[in-house]
Symmetry: C2
Subunit: 597 residues, 2 copies
C-alpha cells in the first residue's frame, strides 16, 4: 500500500495528469511446471475474474528456461495452439474495462516450414473481450553464466509505454533493468526519455542467490527515482533442475518499500497503484558489473590468510529454505514420492538427510541406508542411528565388507597388479553407489547426492561411487558452509544432528585412520582458495598475496584442474550462488593446464 | 597449385592491377592442445623462417573452443604474456618483406582490475621485424548448437581488406562466410562492395560432420565467384572433448579446386596465389539455414516408412577415421596410454574394441574384459574370444555371477521388496561398471564407453552401469549405423569382427532370452523416428505421416523424454553429426511432457 503524503501526490498529479482513480495491481508470482499449459491457462483465466491489473512473471505462458525446447516443433505447435485457445477464451469473455493482465510469453515468427525465424521474449496484454496483443519485446538478453538468451531470442528494439485506465506504465522484462557499462544499451535510460510515468512494471525470471540480498530492491529504487514512478517487480517461483526462482516480488516507490512477497511460494501481492512520491535524480545507476555479479565473498575483517565470509543466521535460513524447496521441486515435478540417502556417519549425508526430512510433505517417504565397509568405524553407525532416531527414521545397514573382499579376491586371482591404494578405496565407494541404486530400483526412490562444493571442486570423490545421485543438495556449499548450516539448523531445530557428527574430523573411511585433511588443506583455507579460483577467477599470485602458501595454492589448482571430467558427469546441483558448478560453468576437459601454474 | 589458363590470368591482371609477381601461400592446418602456448609459439616462429604468406586457423594462438577459460584471469594473463613474448620475438627478427603470417587469436580489452570488457576473435598480422597488428575482428559470431560465441566475444563491425606485396586480400573468419537469410548481417556481401581482390582468406575452426561433405567447398566456390578472386580456407585440426576439427583445408578459384589438405592431420597446403579466372555472378548465395544445418538424412528413395539414408563407403571411411582420431585425441591430450573395453559379445563393444585397436599408436595398450553374468550365453564368450584373437588381444574373464547372487541374497535378507525385473537387471550392469572401473584404477587405463545413439536416445542403458566411461565413441551413431560401419570395417580390414557378432540379434543379456527388440521397435524404424525427433524436431503427426504407427511413435517419444536424466550424466560423445547429444543439446530435465504426446 502506498503511504505517500498528499503534497507529494499532488506533485505527481500535476506533472502526470494522474486521474485520482485508484487502480489495484496484483503481482502474481506463480508456480507452474515448464510447458504445463493446462495449469497455466487455468490460473490466468481464473485470475481475470478479479478486477485490477494482474501482472505475471516473464515467460509465464511457457515457463523458463526452455533451452532447446523453444526450437522444437512439438513444443512450438503445442504452445501456439495453447495461445490460440487462450485468445479465444479471452475474446469470448465479457468486455470489461476494469480488468487487464500483463503476461510474459514467447512470440514466434515461423518460416513456411514451421522453422523459427525469430523468437521474442514478450509481454502480452490480456483484456477480457479483446484479442491478445503483444506490447513489448525484451531488449537486454542475458547471455552470461546459466543464461543463453541470445542463443534463442531476438531482442526488441524499442522501449514500450502502455496506457490503461488513463495511466502511463513503463514496461520492462527482467534484465532490462540491469544494464551496466558493459552493455551498449540501457533500456532504463531509454525509458527515462519518455517520462512521465504512473508506474514501472518489470516481469522477471530471476534466479535465487543467497548473496543477492536486497540487490533487486536497491536497483528498483534507483530506477524508481530515475523514472519518477513506483516500481513493480514480479518474479517467477520454481525450481528448474539446478536453477531456483525465489519469487520475492515487491514494489517500491522512491526509497519506500510498498510491499514484499515471500520467497519460494506462489503468492499474489496486491496493492493500489501508489501516487508519486519525492524522487531524487540518482547520481549514478548501480552498476551490474562482472565484479559485482561474481565477486567472491571474503571475510570483511581482512583476515590473513583471507577467509570466506560466514553466513549470517538470515542467510542460513534462506539457504535452508532454498535447499528444501529445490529438493521438493525436483522430486515433485519428476514424480518422486520417496527419497533415499546413503548415510556415512559424516557431516554431509547427515545434513542432507535432515534437510530432506524437514522438507517432507504428506505422502512422501524417506529412507536411510548405512553401508559399512572394512574401515568404517563403529561410531559412524552409532551417529547415523542416533540421527535417524532423532528424525524418526529407520536406518538399514547394508554392509559392503563381503562384496569388497570378494572383489579383492577376484582381482587378486585374475590380475597381477596389486589391489591397493585408490583401487581399494574406490571399489568401496562404487559398491555403495551400486547398492544404493539397487535399492532405488526396488522402491522408485530418488537418490539424493551428498557431495559438497569443496569435494566437487578438488575431485575428492569417487566417480560412480559417492558421486552418484539424481540431484545434489549440497553441491553449491563449501564444506565450511555445510558445517555452518548444520550448526544453524541445530540451533533452530532442537539439535537434530548429533553434536558428534559436527565435531568429528571429516573422513571418507576408505582406509585406516583416514581423514580429509591428510590429502587436502584445512577446509577454511581450501574453501577460501576455491572461492578465489571459481568466483573471482584469481591467479596463483593473487591468492598467495592473500596469505596462502605457494604450495597449497598450486596443489589446489592442480586438483581442481584434473577433476573436470568428474564434474562433467555430475548430477544437477541446487544453485544457491552466483557462480556454481553446473550448466553455467563451462570449462573444456581437454586443455594444457600450464596457465594454472 | 593453380592451373589457370593464361588468358584468364590476363583478365585477372587487367581488372586487378595484378603485378605478375608470384606469391606463395601456405595454409597451415595445425594441431595443438588448447592453451599449449609454448608449442603454438614454436610452430609459428619456425614457420616464419620460410618465405611466403602463412595462414593459420581461427584462434590458432589460444585453441578453440575455450568456453569460460577465456574469462579466467590465469588464462588471460598467461595468454597476454605469451602474446608479448611472441611480439618481442617477431620484432627482433630480421626485417623481411617476403614473409608474413595471418594468425587467429584473441584481442582483450580489460578493465583496470583485469576484468574483460570485450574479447574479440581476430586476425593478427605477423611480419618479421614488425609489431603484431590486429587486422580484423570476426563479425558473424555463431551461437547455435555447440557454439556460444556471443556469450564470450564482441563482434567486429567492419569488413577488412589487407594489402601485402601489392595484393588486396579480403579477410574472413569462419562463420563470416556462412551468413543466411536468418542473419541481419552478411560479411561476404559487405566485402563484395570492396572489390577487386586478389584473394579471399578464411581462417576457420569448423567442426567435422559426416554429412558436411563438400558443403564448405561449395560455399567457398560461390563466394569466390561473388568476390571474383580465389578463396583460401584453412581449418583447425583437433579433437576437443566431443568436438572434432577435421582440417581439410582447401583453395578454390571459381569452379576450380586448387588444392585440398587431408582430414584429421596437421598439414601445410602450399600453392601460389593463383591468378583470376572466369567468374559468374552467383544467382543466389547458398543458404545456410536451420533446415540445411539440421536436416535429417532420410533415404532418398522415399521408402514408407521412411528410413535413414545408409552411409556410403566413403562416409563409412570418414566416420571410422573420425572416431579413431577422436579417441586418440582424447587419450593423447589427457595422457592416457592404455584403453579398457568391456566386451559383451555384442555389436557395440566389438566395434569399439576394433576401432580402438586399429587406432593404437606405439607405446599404447588396450585391454578387453568380459564379465559374464547369470544370463550371459556361452556364445558371447566365444565371439568375444574370437574377436580378441583376430585383433591379437588377450581377453580376461571377470564373472559377476557370484557378486550378483551375493547382492541378491543380501537384499532378500534385508528388504521386503522383491529382487526382480529392472532391479535384477540393473545390478548386473552396475556390477560390471564397478569392476571395469576397478580395473581402470589398477592400470590407469581409459574406459571407453560402448553406448550407441539409439540407446542413449531411449534410455536403453543402466546409469552407472553400461553407461560408464571416460569417452563415448559410438554415442553419435544409431544402432543401424553401428552395423553399417562394422560391415564396412570387415570389408576393409579382412573381416576382423566375427560374422556371428554382426548377425546375432542384439541383447543386453540381463534376463533369459532377452533381445532389444522385446522392448524397442526394430532398429531401422526406431532410428528413423529418432532422427526425425532429434534432427528435424518433428512432431508425432509428422512421423505418423511418414509411415510409422501412432503407437510406436508415441512410445519412442515417451522413452526419449524420460531418459533426459541419464543423458545429463553421460560422458563426452565423439560428435560426427550436425545434431548430437552433448554440449550442443540442451533440454531441461524437469518439464511437463504433454507436448510430446
Amino acid at each position: 500500500m502506498g503511504t505517500c503524503l498528499g503534497v507529494l501526490t499532488l506533485e505527481g498529479l500535476s506533472v502526470n495528469a494522474y486521474q485520482g482513480k485508484s487502480m489495484q495491481i496484483h503481482l502474481h508470482q506463480t508456480h507452474h511446471t515448464i510447458a504445463d499449459f493446462q495449469a497455466i491457462n487455468a490460473t490466468l483465466l481464473s485470475t481475470l475474474e478479479r478486477p485490477g491489473l494482474h501482472v505475471f512473471p516473464e515467460l509465464y505462458l511457457t515457463g523458463y528456461p526452455l533451452a532447446d525446447l523453444c526450437l522444437t516443433a512439438p513444443f512450438i505447435q503445442t504452445y501456439l495452439g495453447f495461445l490460440k485457445t487462450l485468445n479465444n477464451a479471452v475474446v469470448s469473455m465479457k468486455k470489461n474495462d476494469q480488468t487487464a493482465a500483463l503476461v510474459g510469453g514467447l512470440a514466434y515468427t515461423l518460416s513456411d516450414e514451421g522453422v523459427p525465424h525469430s523468437i521474442r521474449n514478450v509481454i502480452f496484454e490480456v483484456i477480457p473481450g479483446q484479442e491478445l496483443r503483444e506490447l513489448y519485446s525484451k531488449r537486454l538478453l542475458p547471455n552470461y553464466d546459466i543464461f543463453d538468451e541470445q542463443k534463442y531470442f531476438t531482442p526488441g528494439t524499442e522501449p514500450a509505454v502502455w496506457s490503461w485506465q488513463g495511466k502511463r506504465l513503463a514496461l520492462m522484462i527482467c534484465e532490462d533493468m540491469w544494464a551496466s557499462s558493459f552493455h551498449k544499451l540501457d533500456p532504463a535510460r531509454d525509458l527515462a526519455t519518455l517520462k512521465p510515468f504512473d508506474g514501472v512494471i518489470n516481469l522477471s525470471a530471476s534466479p535465487y542467490d543467497v548473496a543477492k540480498g536486497d540487490k533487486r530492491r536497491d536497483r528498483a529504487r534507483v530506477l524508481s527515482h530515475l523514472l519518477e514512478a513506483p516500481f513493480f517487480y514480479v518474479n517467477r517461483v520454481g525450481g528448474e533442475d539446478e536453477i531456483l526462482f525465489d519469487g520475492a516480488s515487491f514494489a517500491v516507490n522512491g526509497d519506500e518499500t510498498l510491499g514484499m512477497a515471500p520467497q519460494f511460494l506462489a503468492h499474489t501481492l496486491s496493492m493500489e497503484l501508489s501516487p508519486k512520491t519525492q524522487y531524487t535524480t540518482p547520481s549514478t545507476l548501480l552498476e551490474n558489473t562482472w565484479e559485482s555479479l561474481f565477486a567472491p565473498r571474503f571475510s570483511a575483517n581482512k583476515s590473513f590468510p583471507r577467509q570466506l565470509q560466514e553466513w549470517s543466521d538470515e542467510e542460513c535460513a534462506s539457504v535452508a529454505l532454498a535447499l528444501q524447496f529445490s529438493l521438493q521441486e525436483y522430486a515433485g515435478k519428476n514424480k518422486f514420492k520417496k527419497f533415499l540417502v546413503a548415510l556415512s556417519g559424516g557431516m554431509d549425508s547427515a545434513l542432507v538427510l535432515t534437510l530432506a526430512k524437514l522438507s517432507l510433505r504428506p505422502g512422501q517417504e524417506i529412507e536411510a541406508v548405512y553401508m559399512p565397509g572394512p574401515y568404517s568405524r563403529s561410531i559412524s553407525w552409532d551417529y547415523s542411528l542416533e540421527l535417524c532416531q532423532r528424525l524418526g527414521l529407520k536406518l538399514t545397514s547394508l554392509p559392503i565388507k563381503f562384496l569388497h573382499s570378494n572383489v579383492r579376491m577376484s582381482f587378486q586371482n585374475t590380475f597381477p597388479e596389486p589391489f591397493e591404494g585408490l583401487t581399494d578405496e574406490n571399489v568401496q565407494s562404487r559398491l555403495r553407489g551400486m547398492l544404493i541404486y539397487t535399492r532405488s530400483n526396488q522402491t522408485g526412490a530418488m537418490v539424493i547426492n551428498t557431495s559438497n562444493k569443496s569435494e566437487i571442486a578438488v575431485g575428492y570423490s569417487t566417480q560412480y561411487g559417492d558421486a552418484v545421485g539424481a540431484y545434489s543438495l549440497l553441491g553449491d556449499l563449501y564444506k565450511t558452509e555445510v558445517y555452518r548450516l548444520a550448526v544453524w539448523l541445530n540451533q533452530n531445530h532442537a539439535g537434530l544432528i548429533p553434536a558428534g557428527i559436527i565435531e568429528r574430523p571429516p573422513s571418507a573411511e576408505l582406509k585406516p585412520n583416514q581423514t580429509d585433511q591428510d590429502s587436502l588443506p584445512p577446509y577454511p583455507r581450501l574453501d577460501a582458495i576455491l572461492e578465489g579460483i571459481l568466483s573471482f577467477r584469481h591467479r596463483r599470485e593473487d591468492l598467495v598475496a592473500m596469505g596462502f602458501s605457494e604450495e597449497e595454492v598450486k596443489r589446489v589448482f592442480h586438483l581442481y584442474s584434473i577433476a573436470e571430467y568428474k564434474r562433467r558427469q555430475f548430477c544437477p546441483i541446487a544453485k544457491i550462488k552466483a557462480k556454481s558448478f553446473g550448466f553455467g560453468y563451462r570449462v573444456p576437459l581437454t586443455k594444457h593446464t600450464g596457465f594454472y601454474q
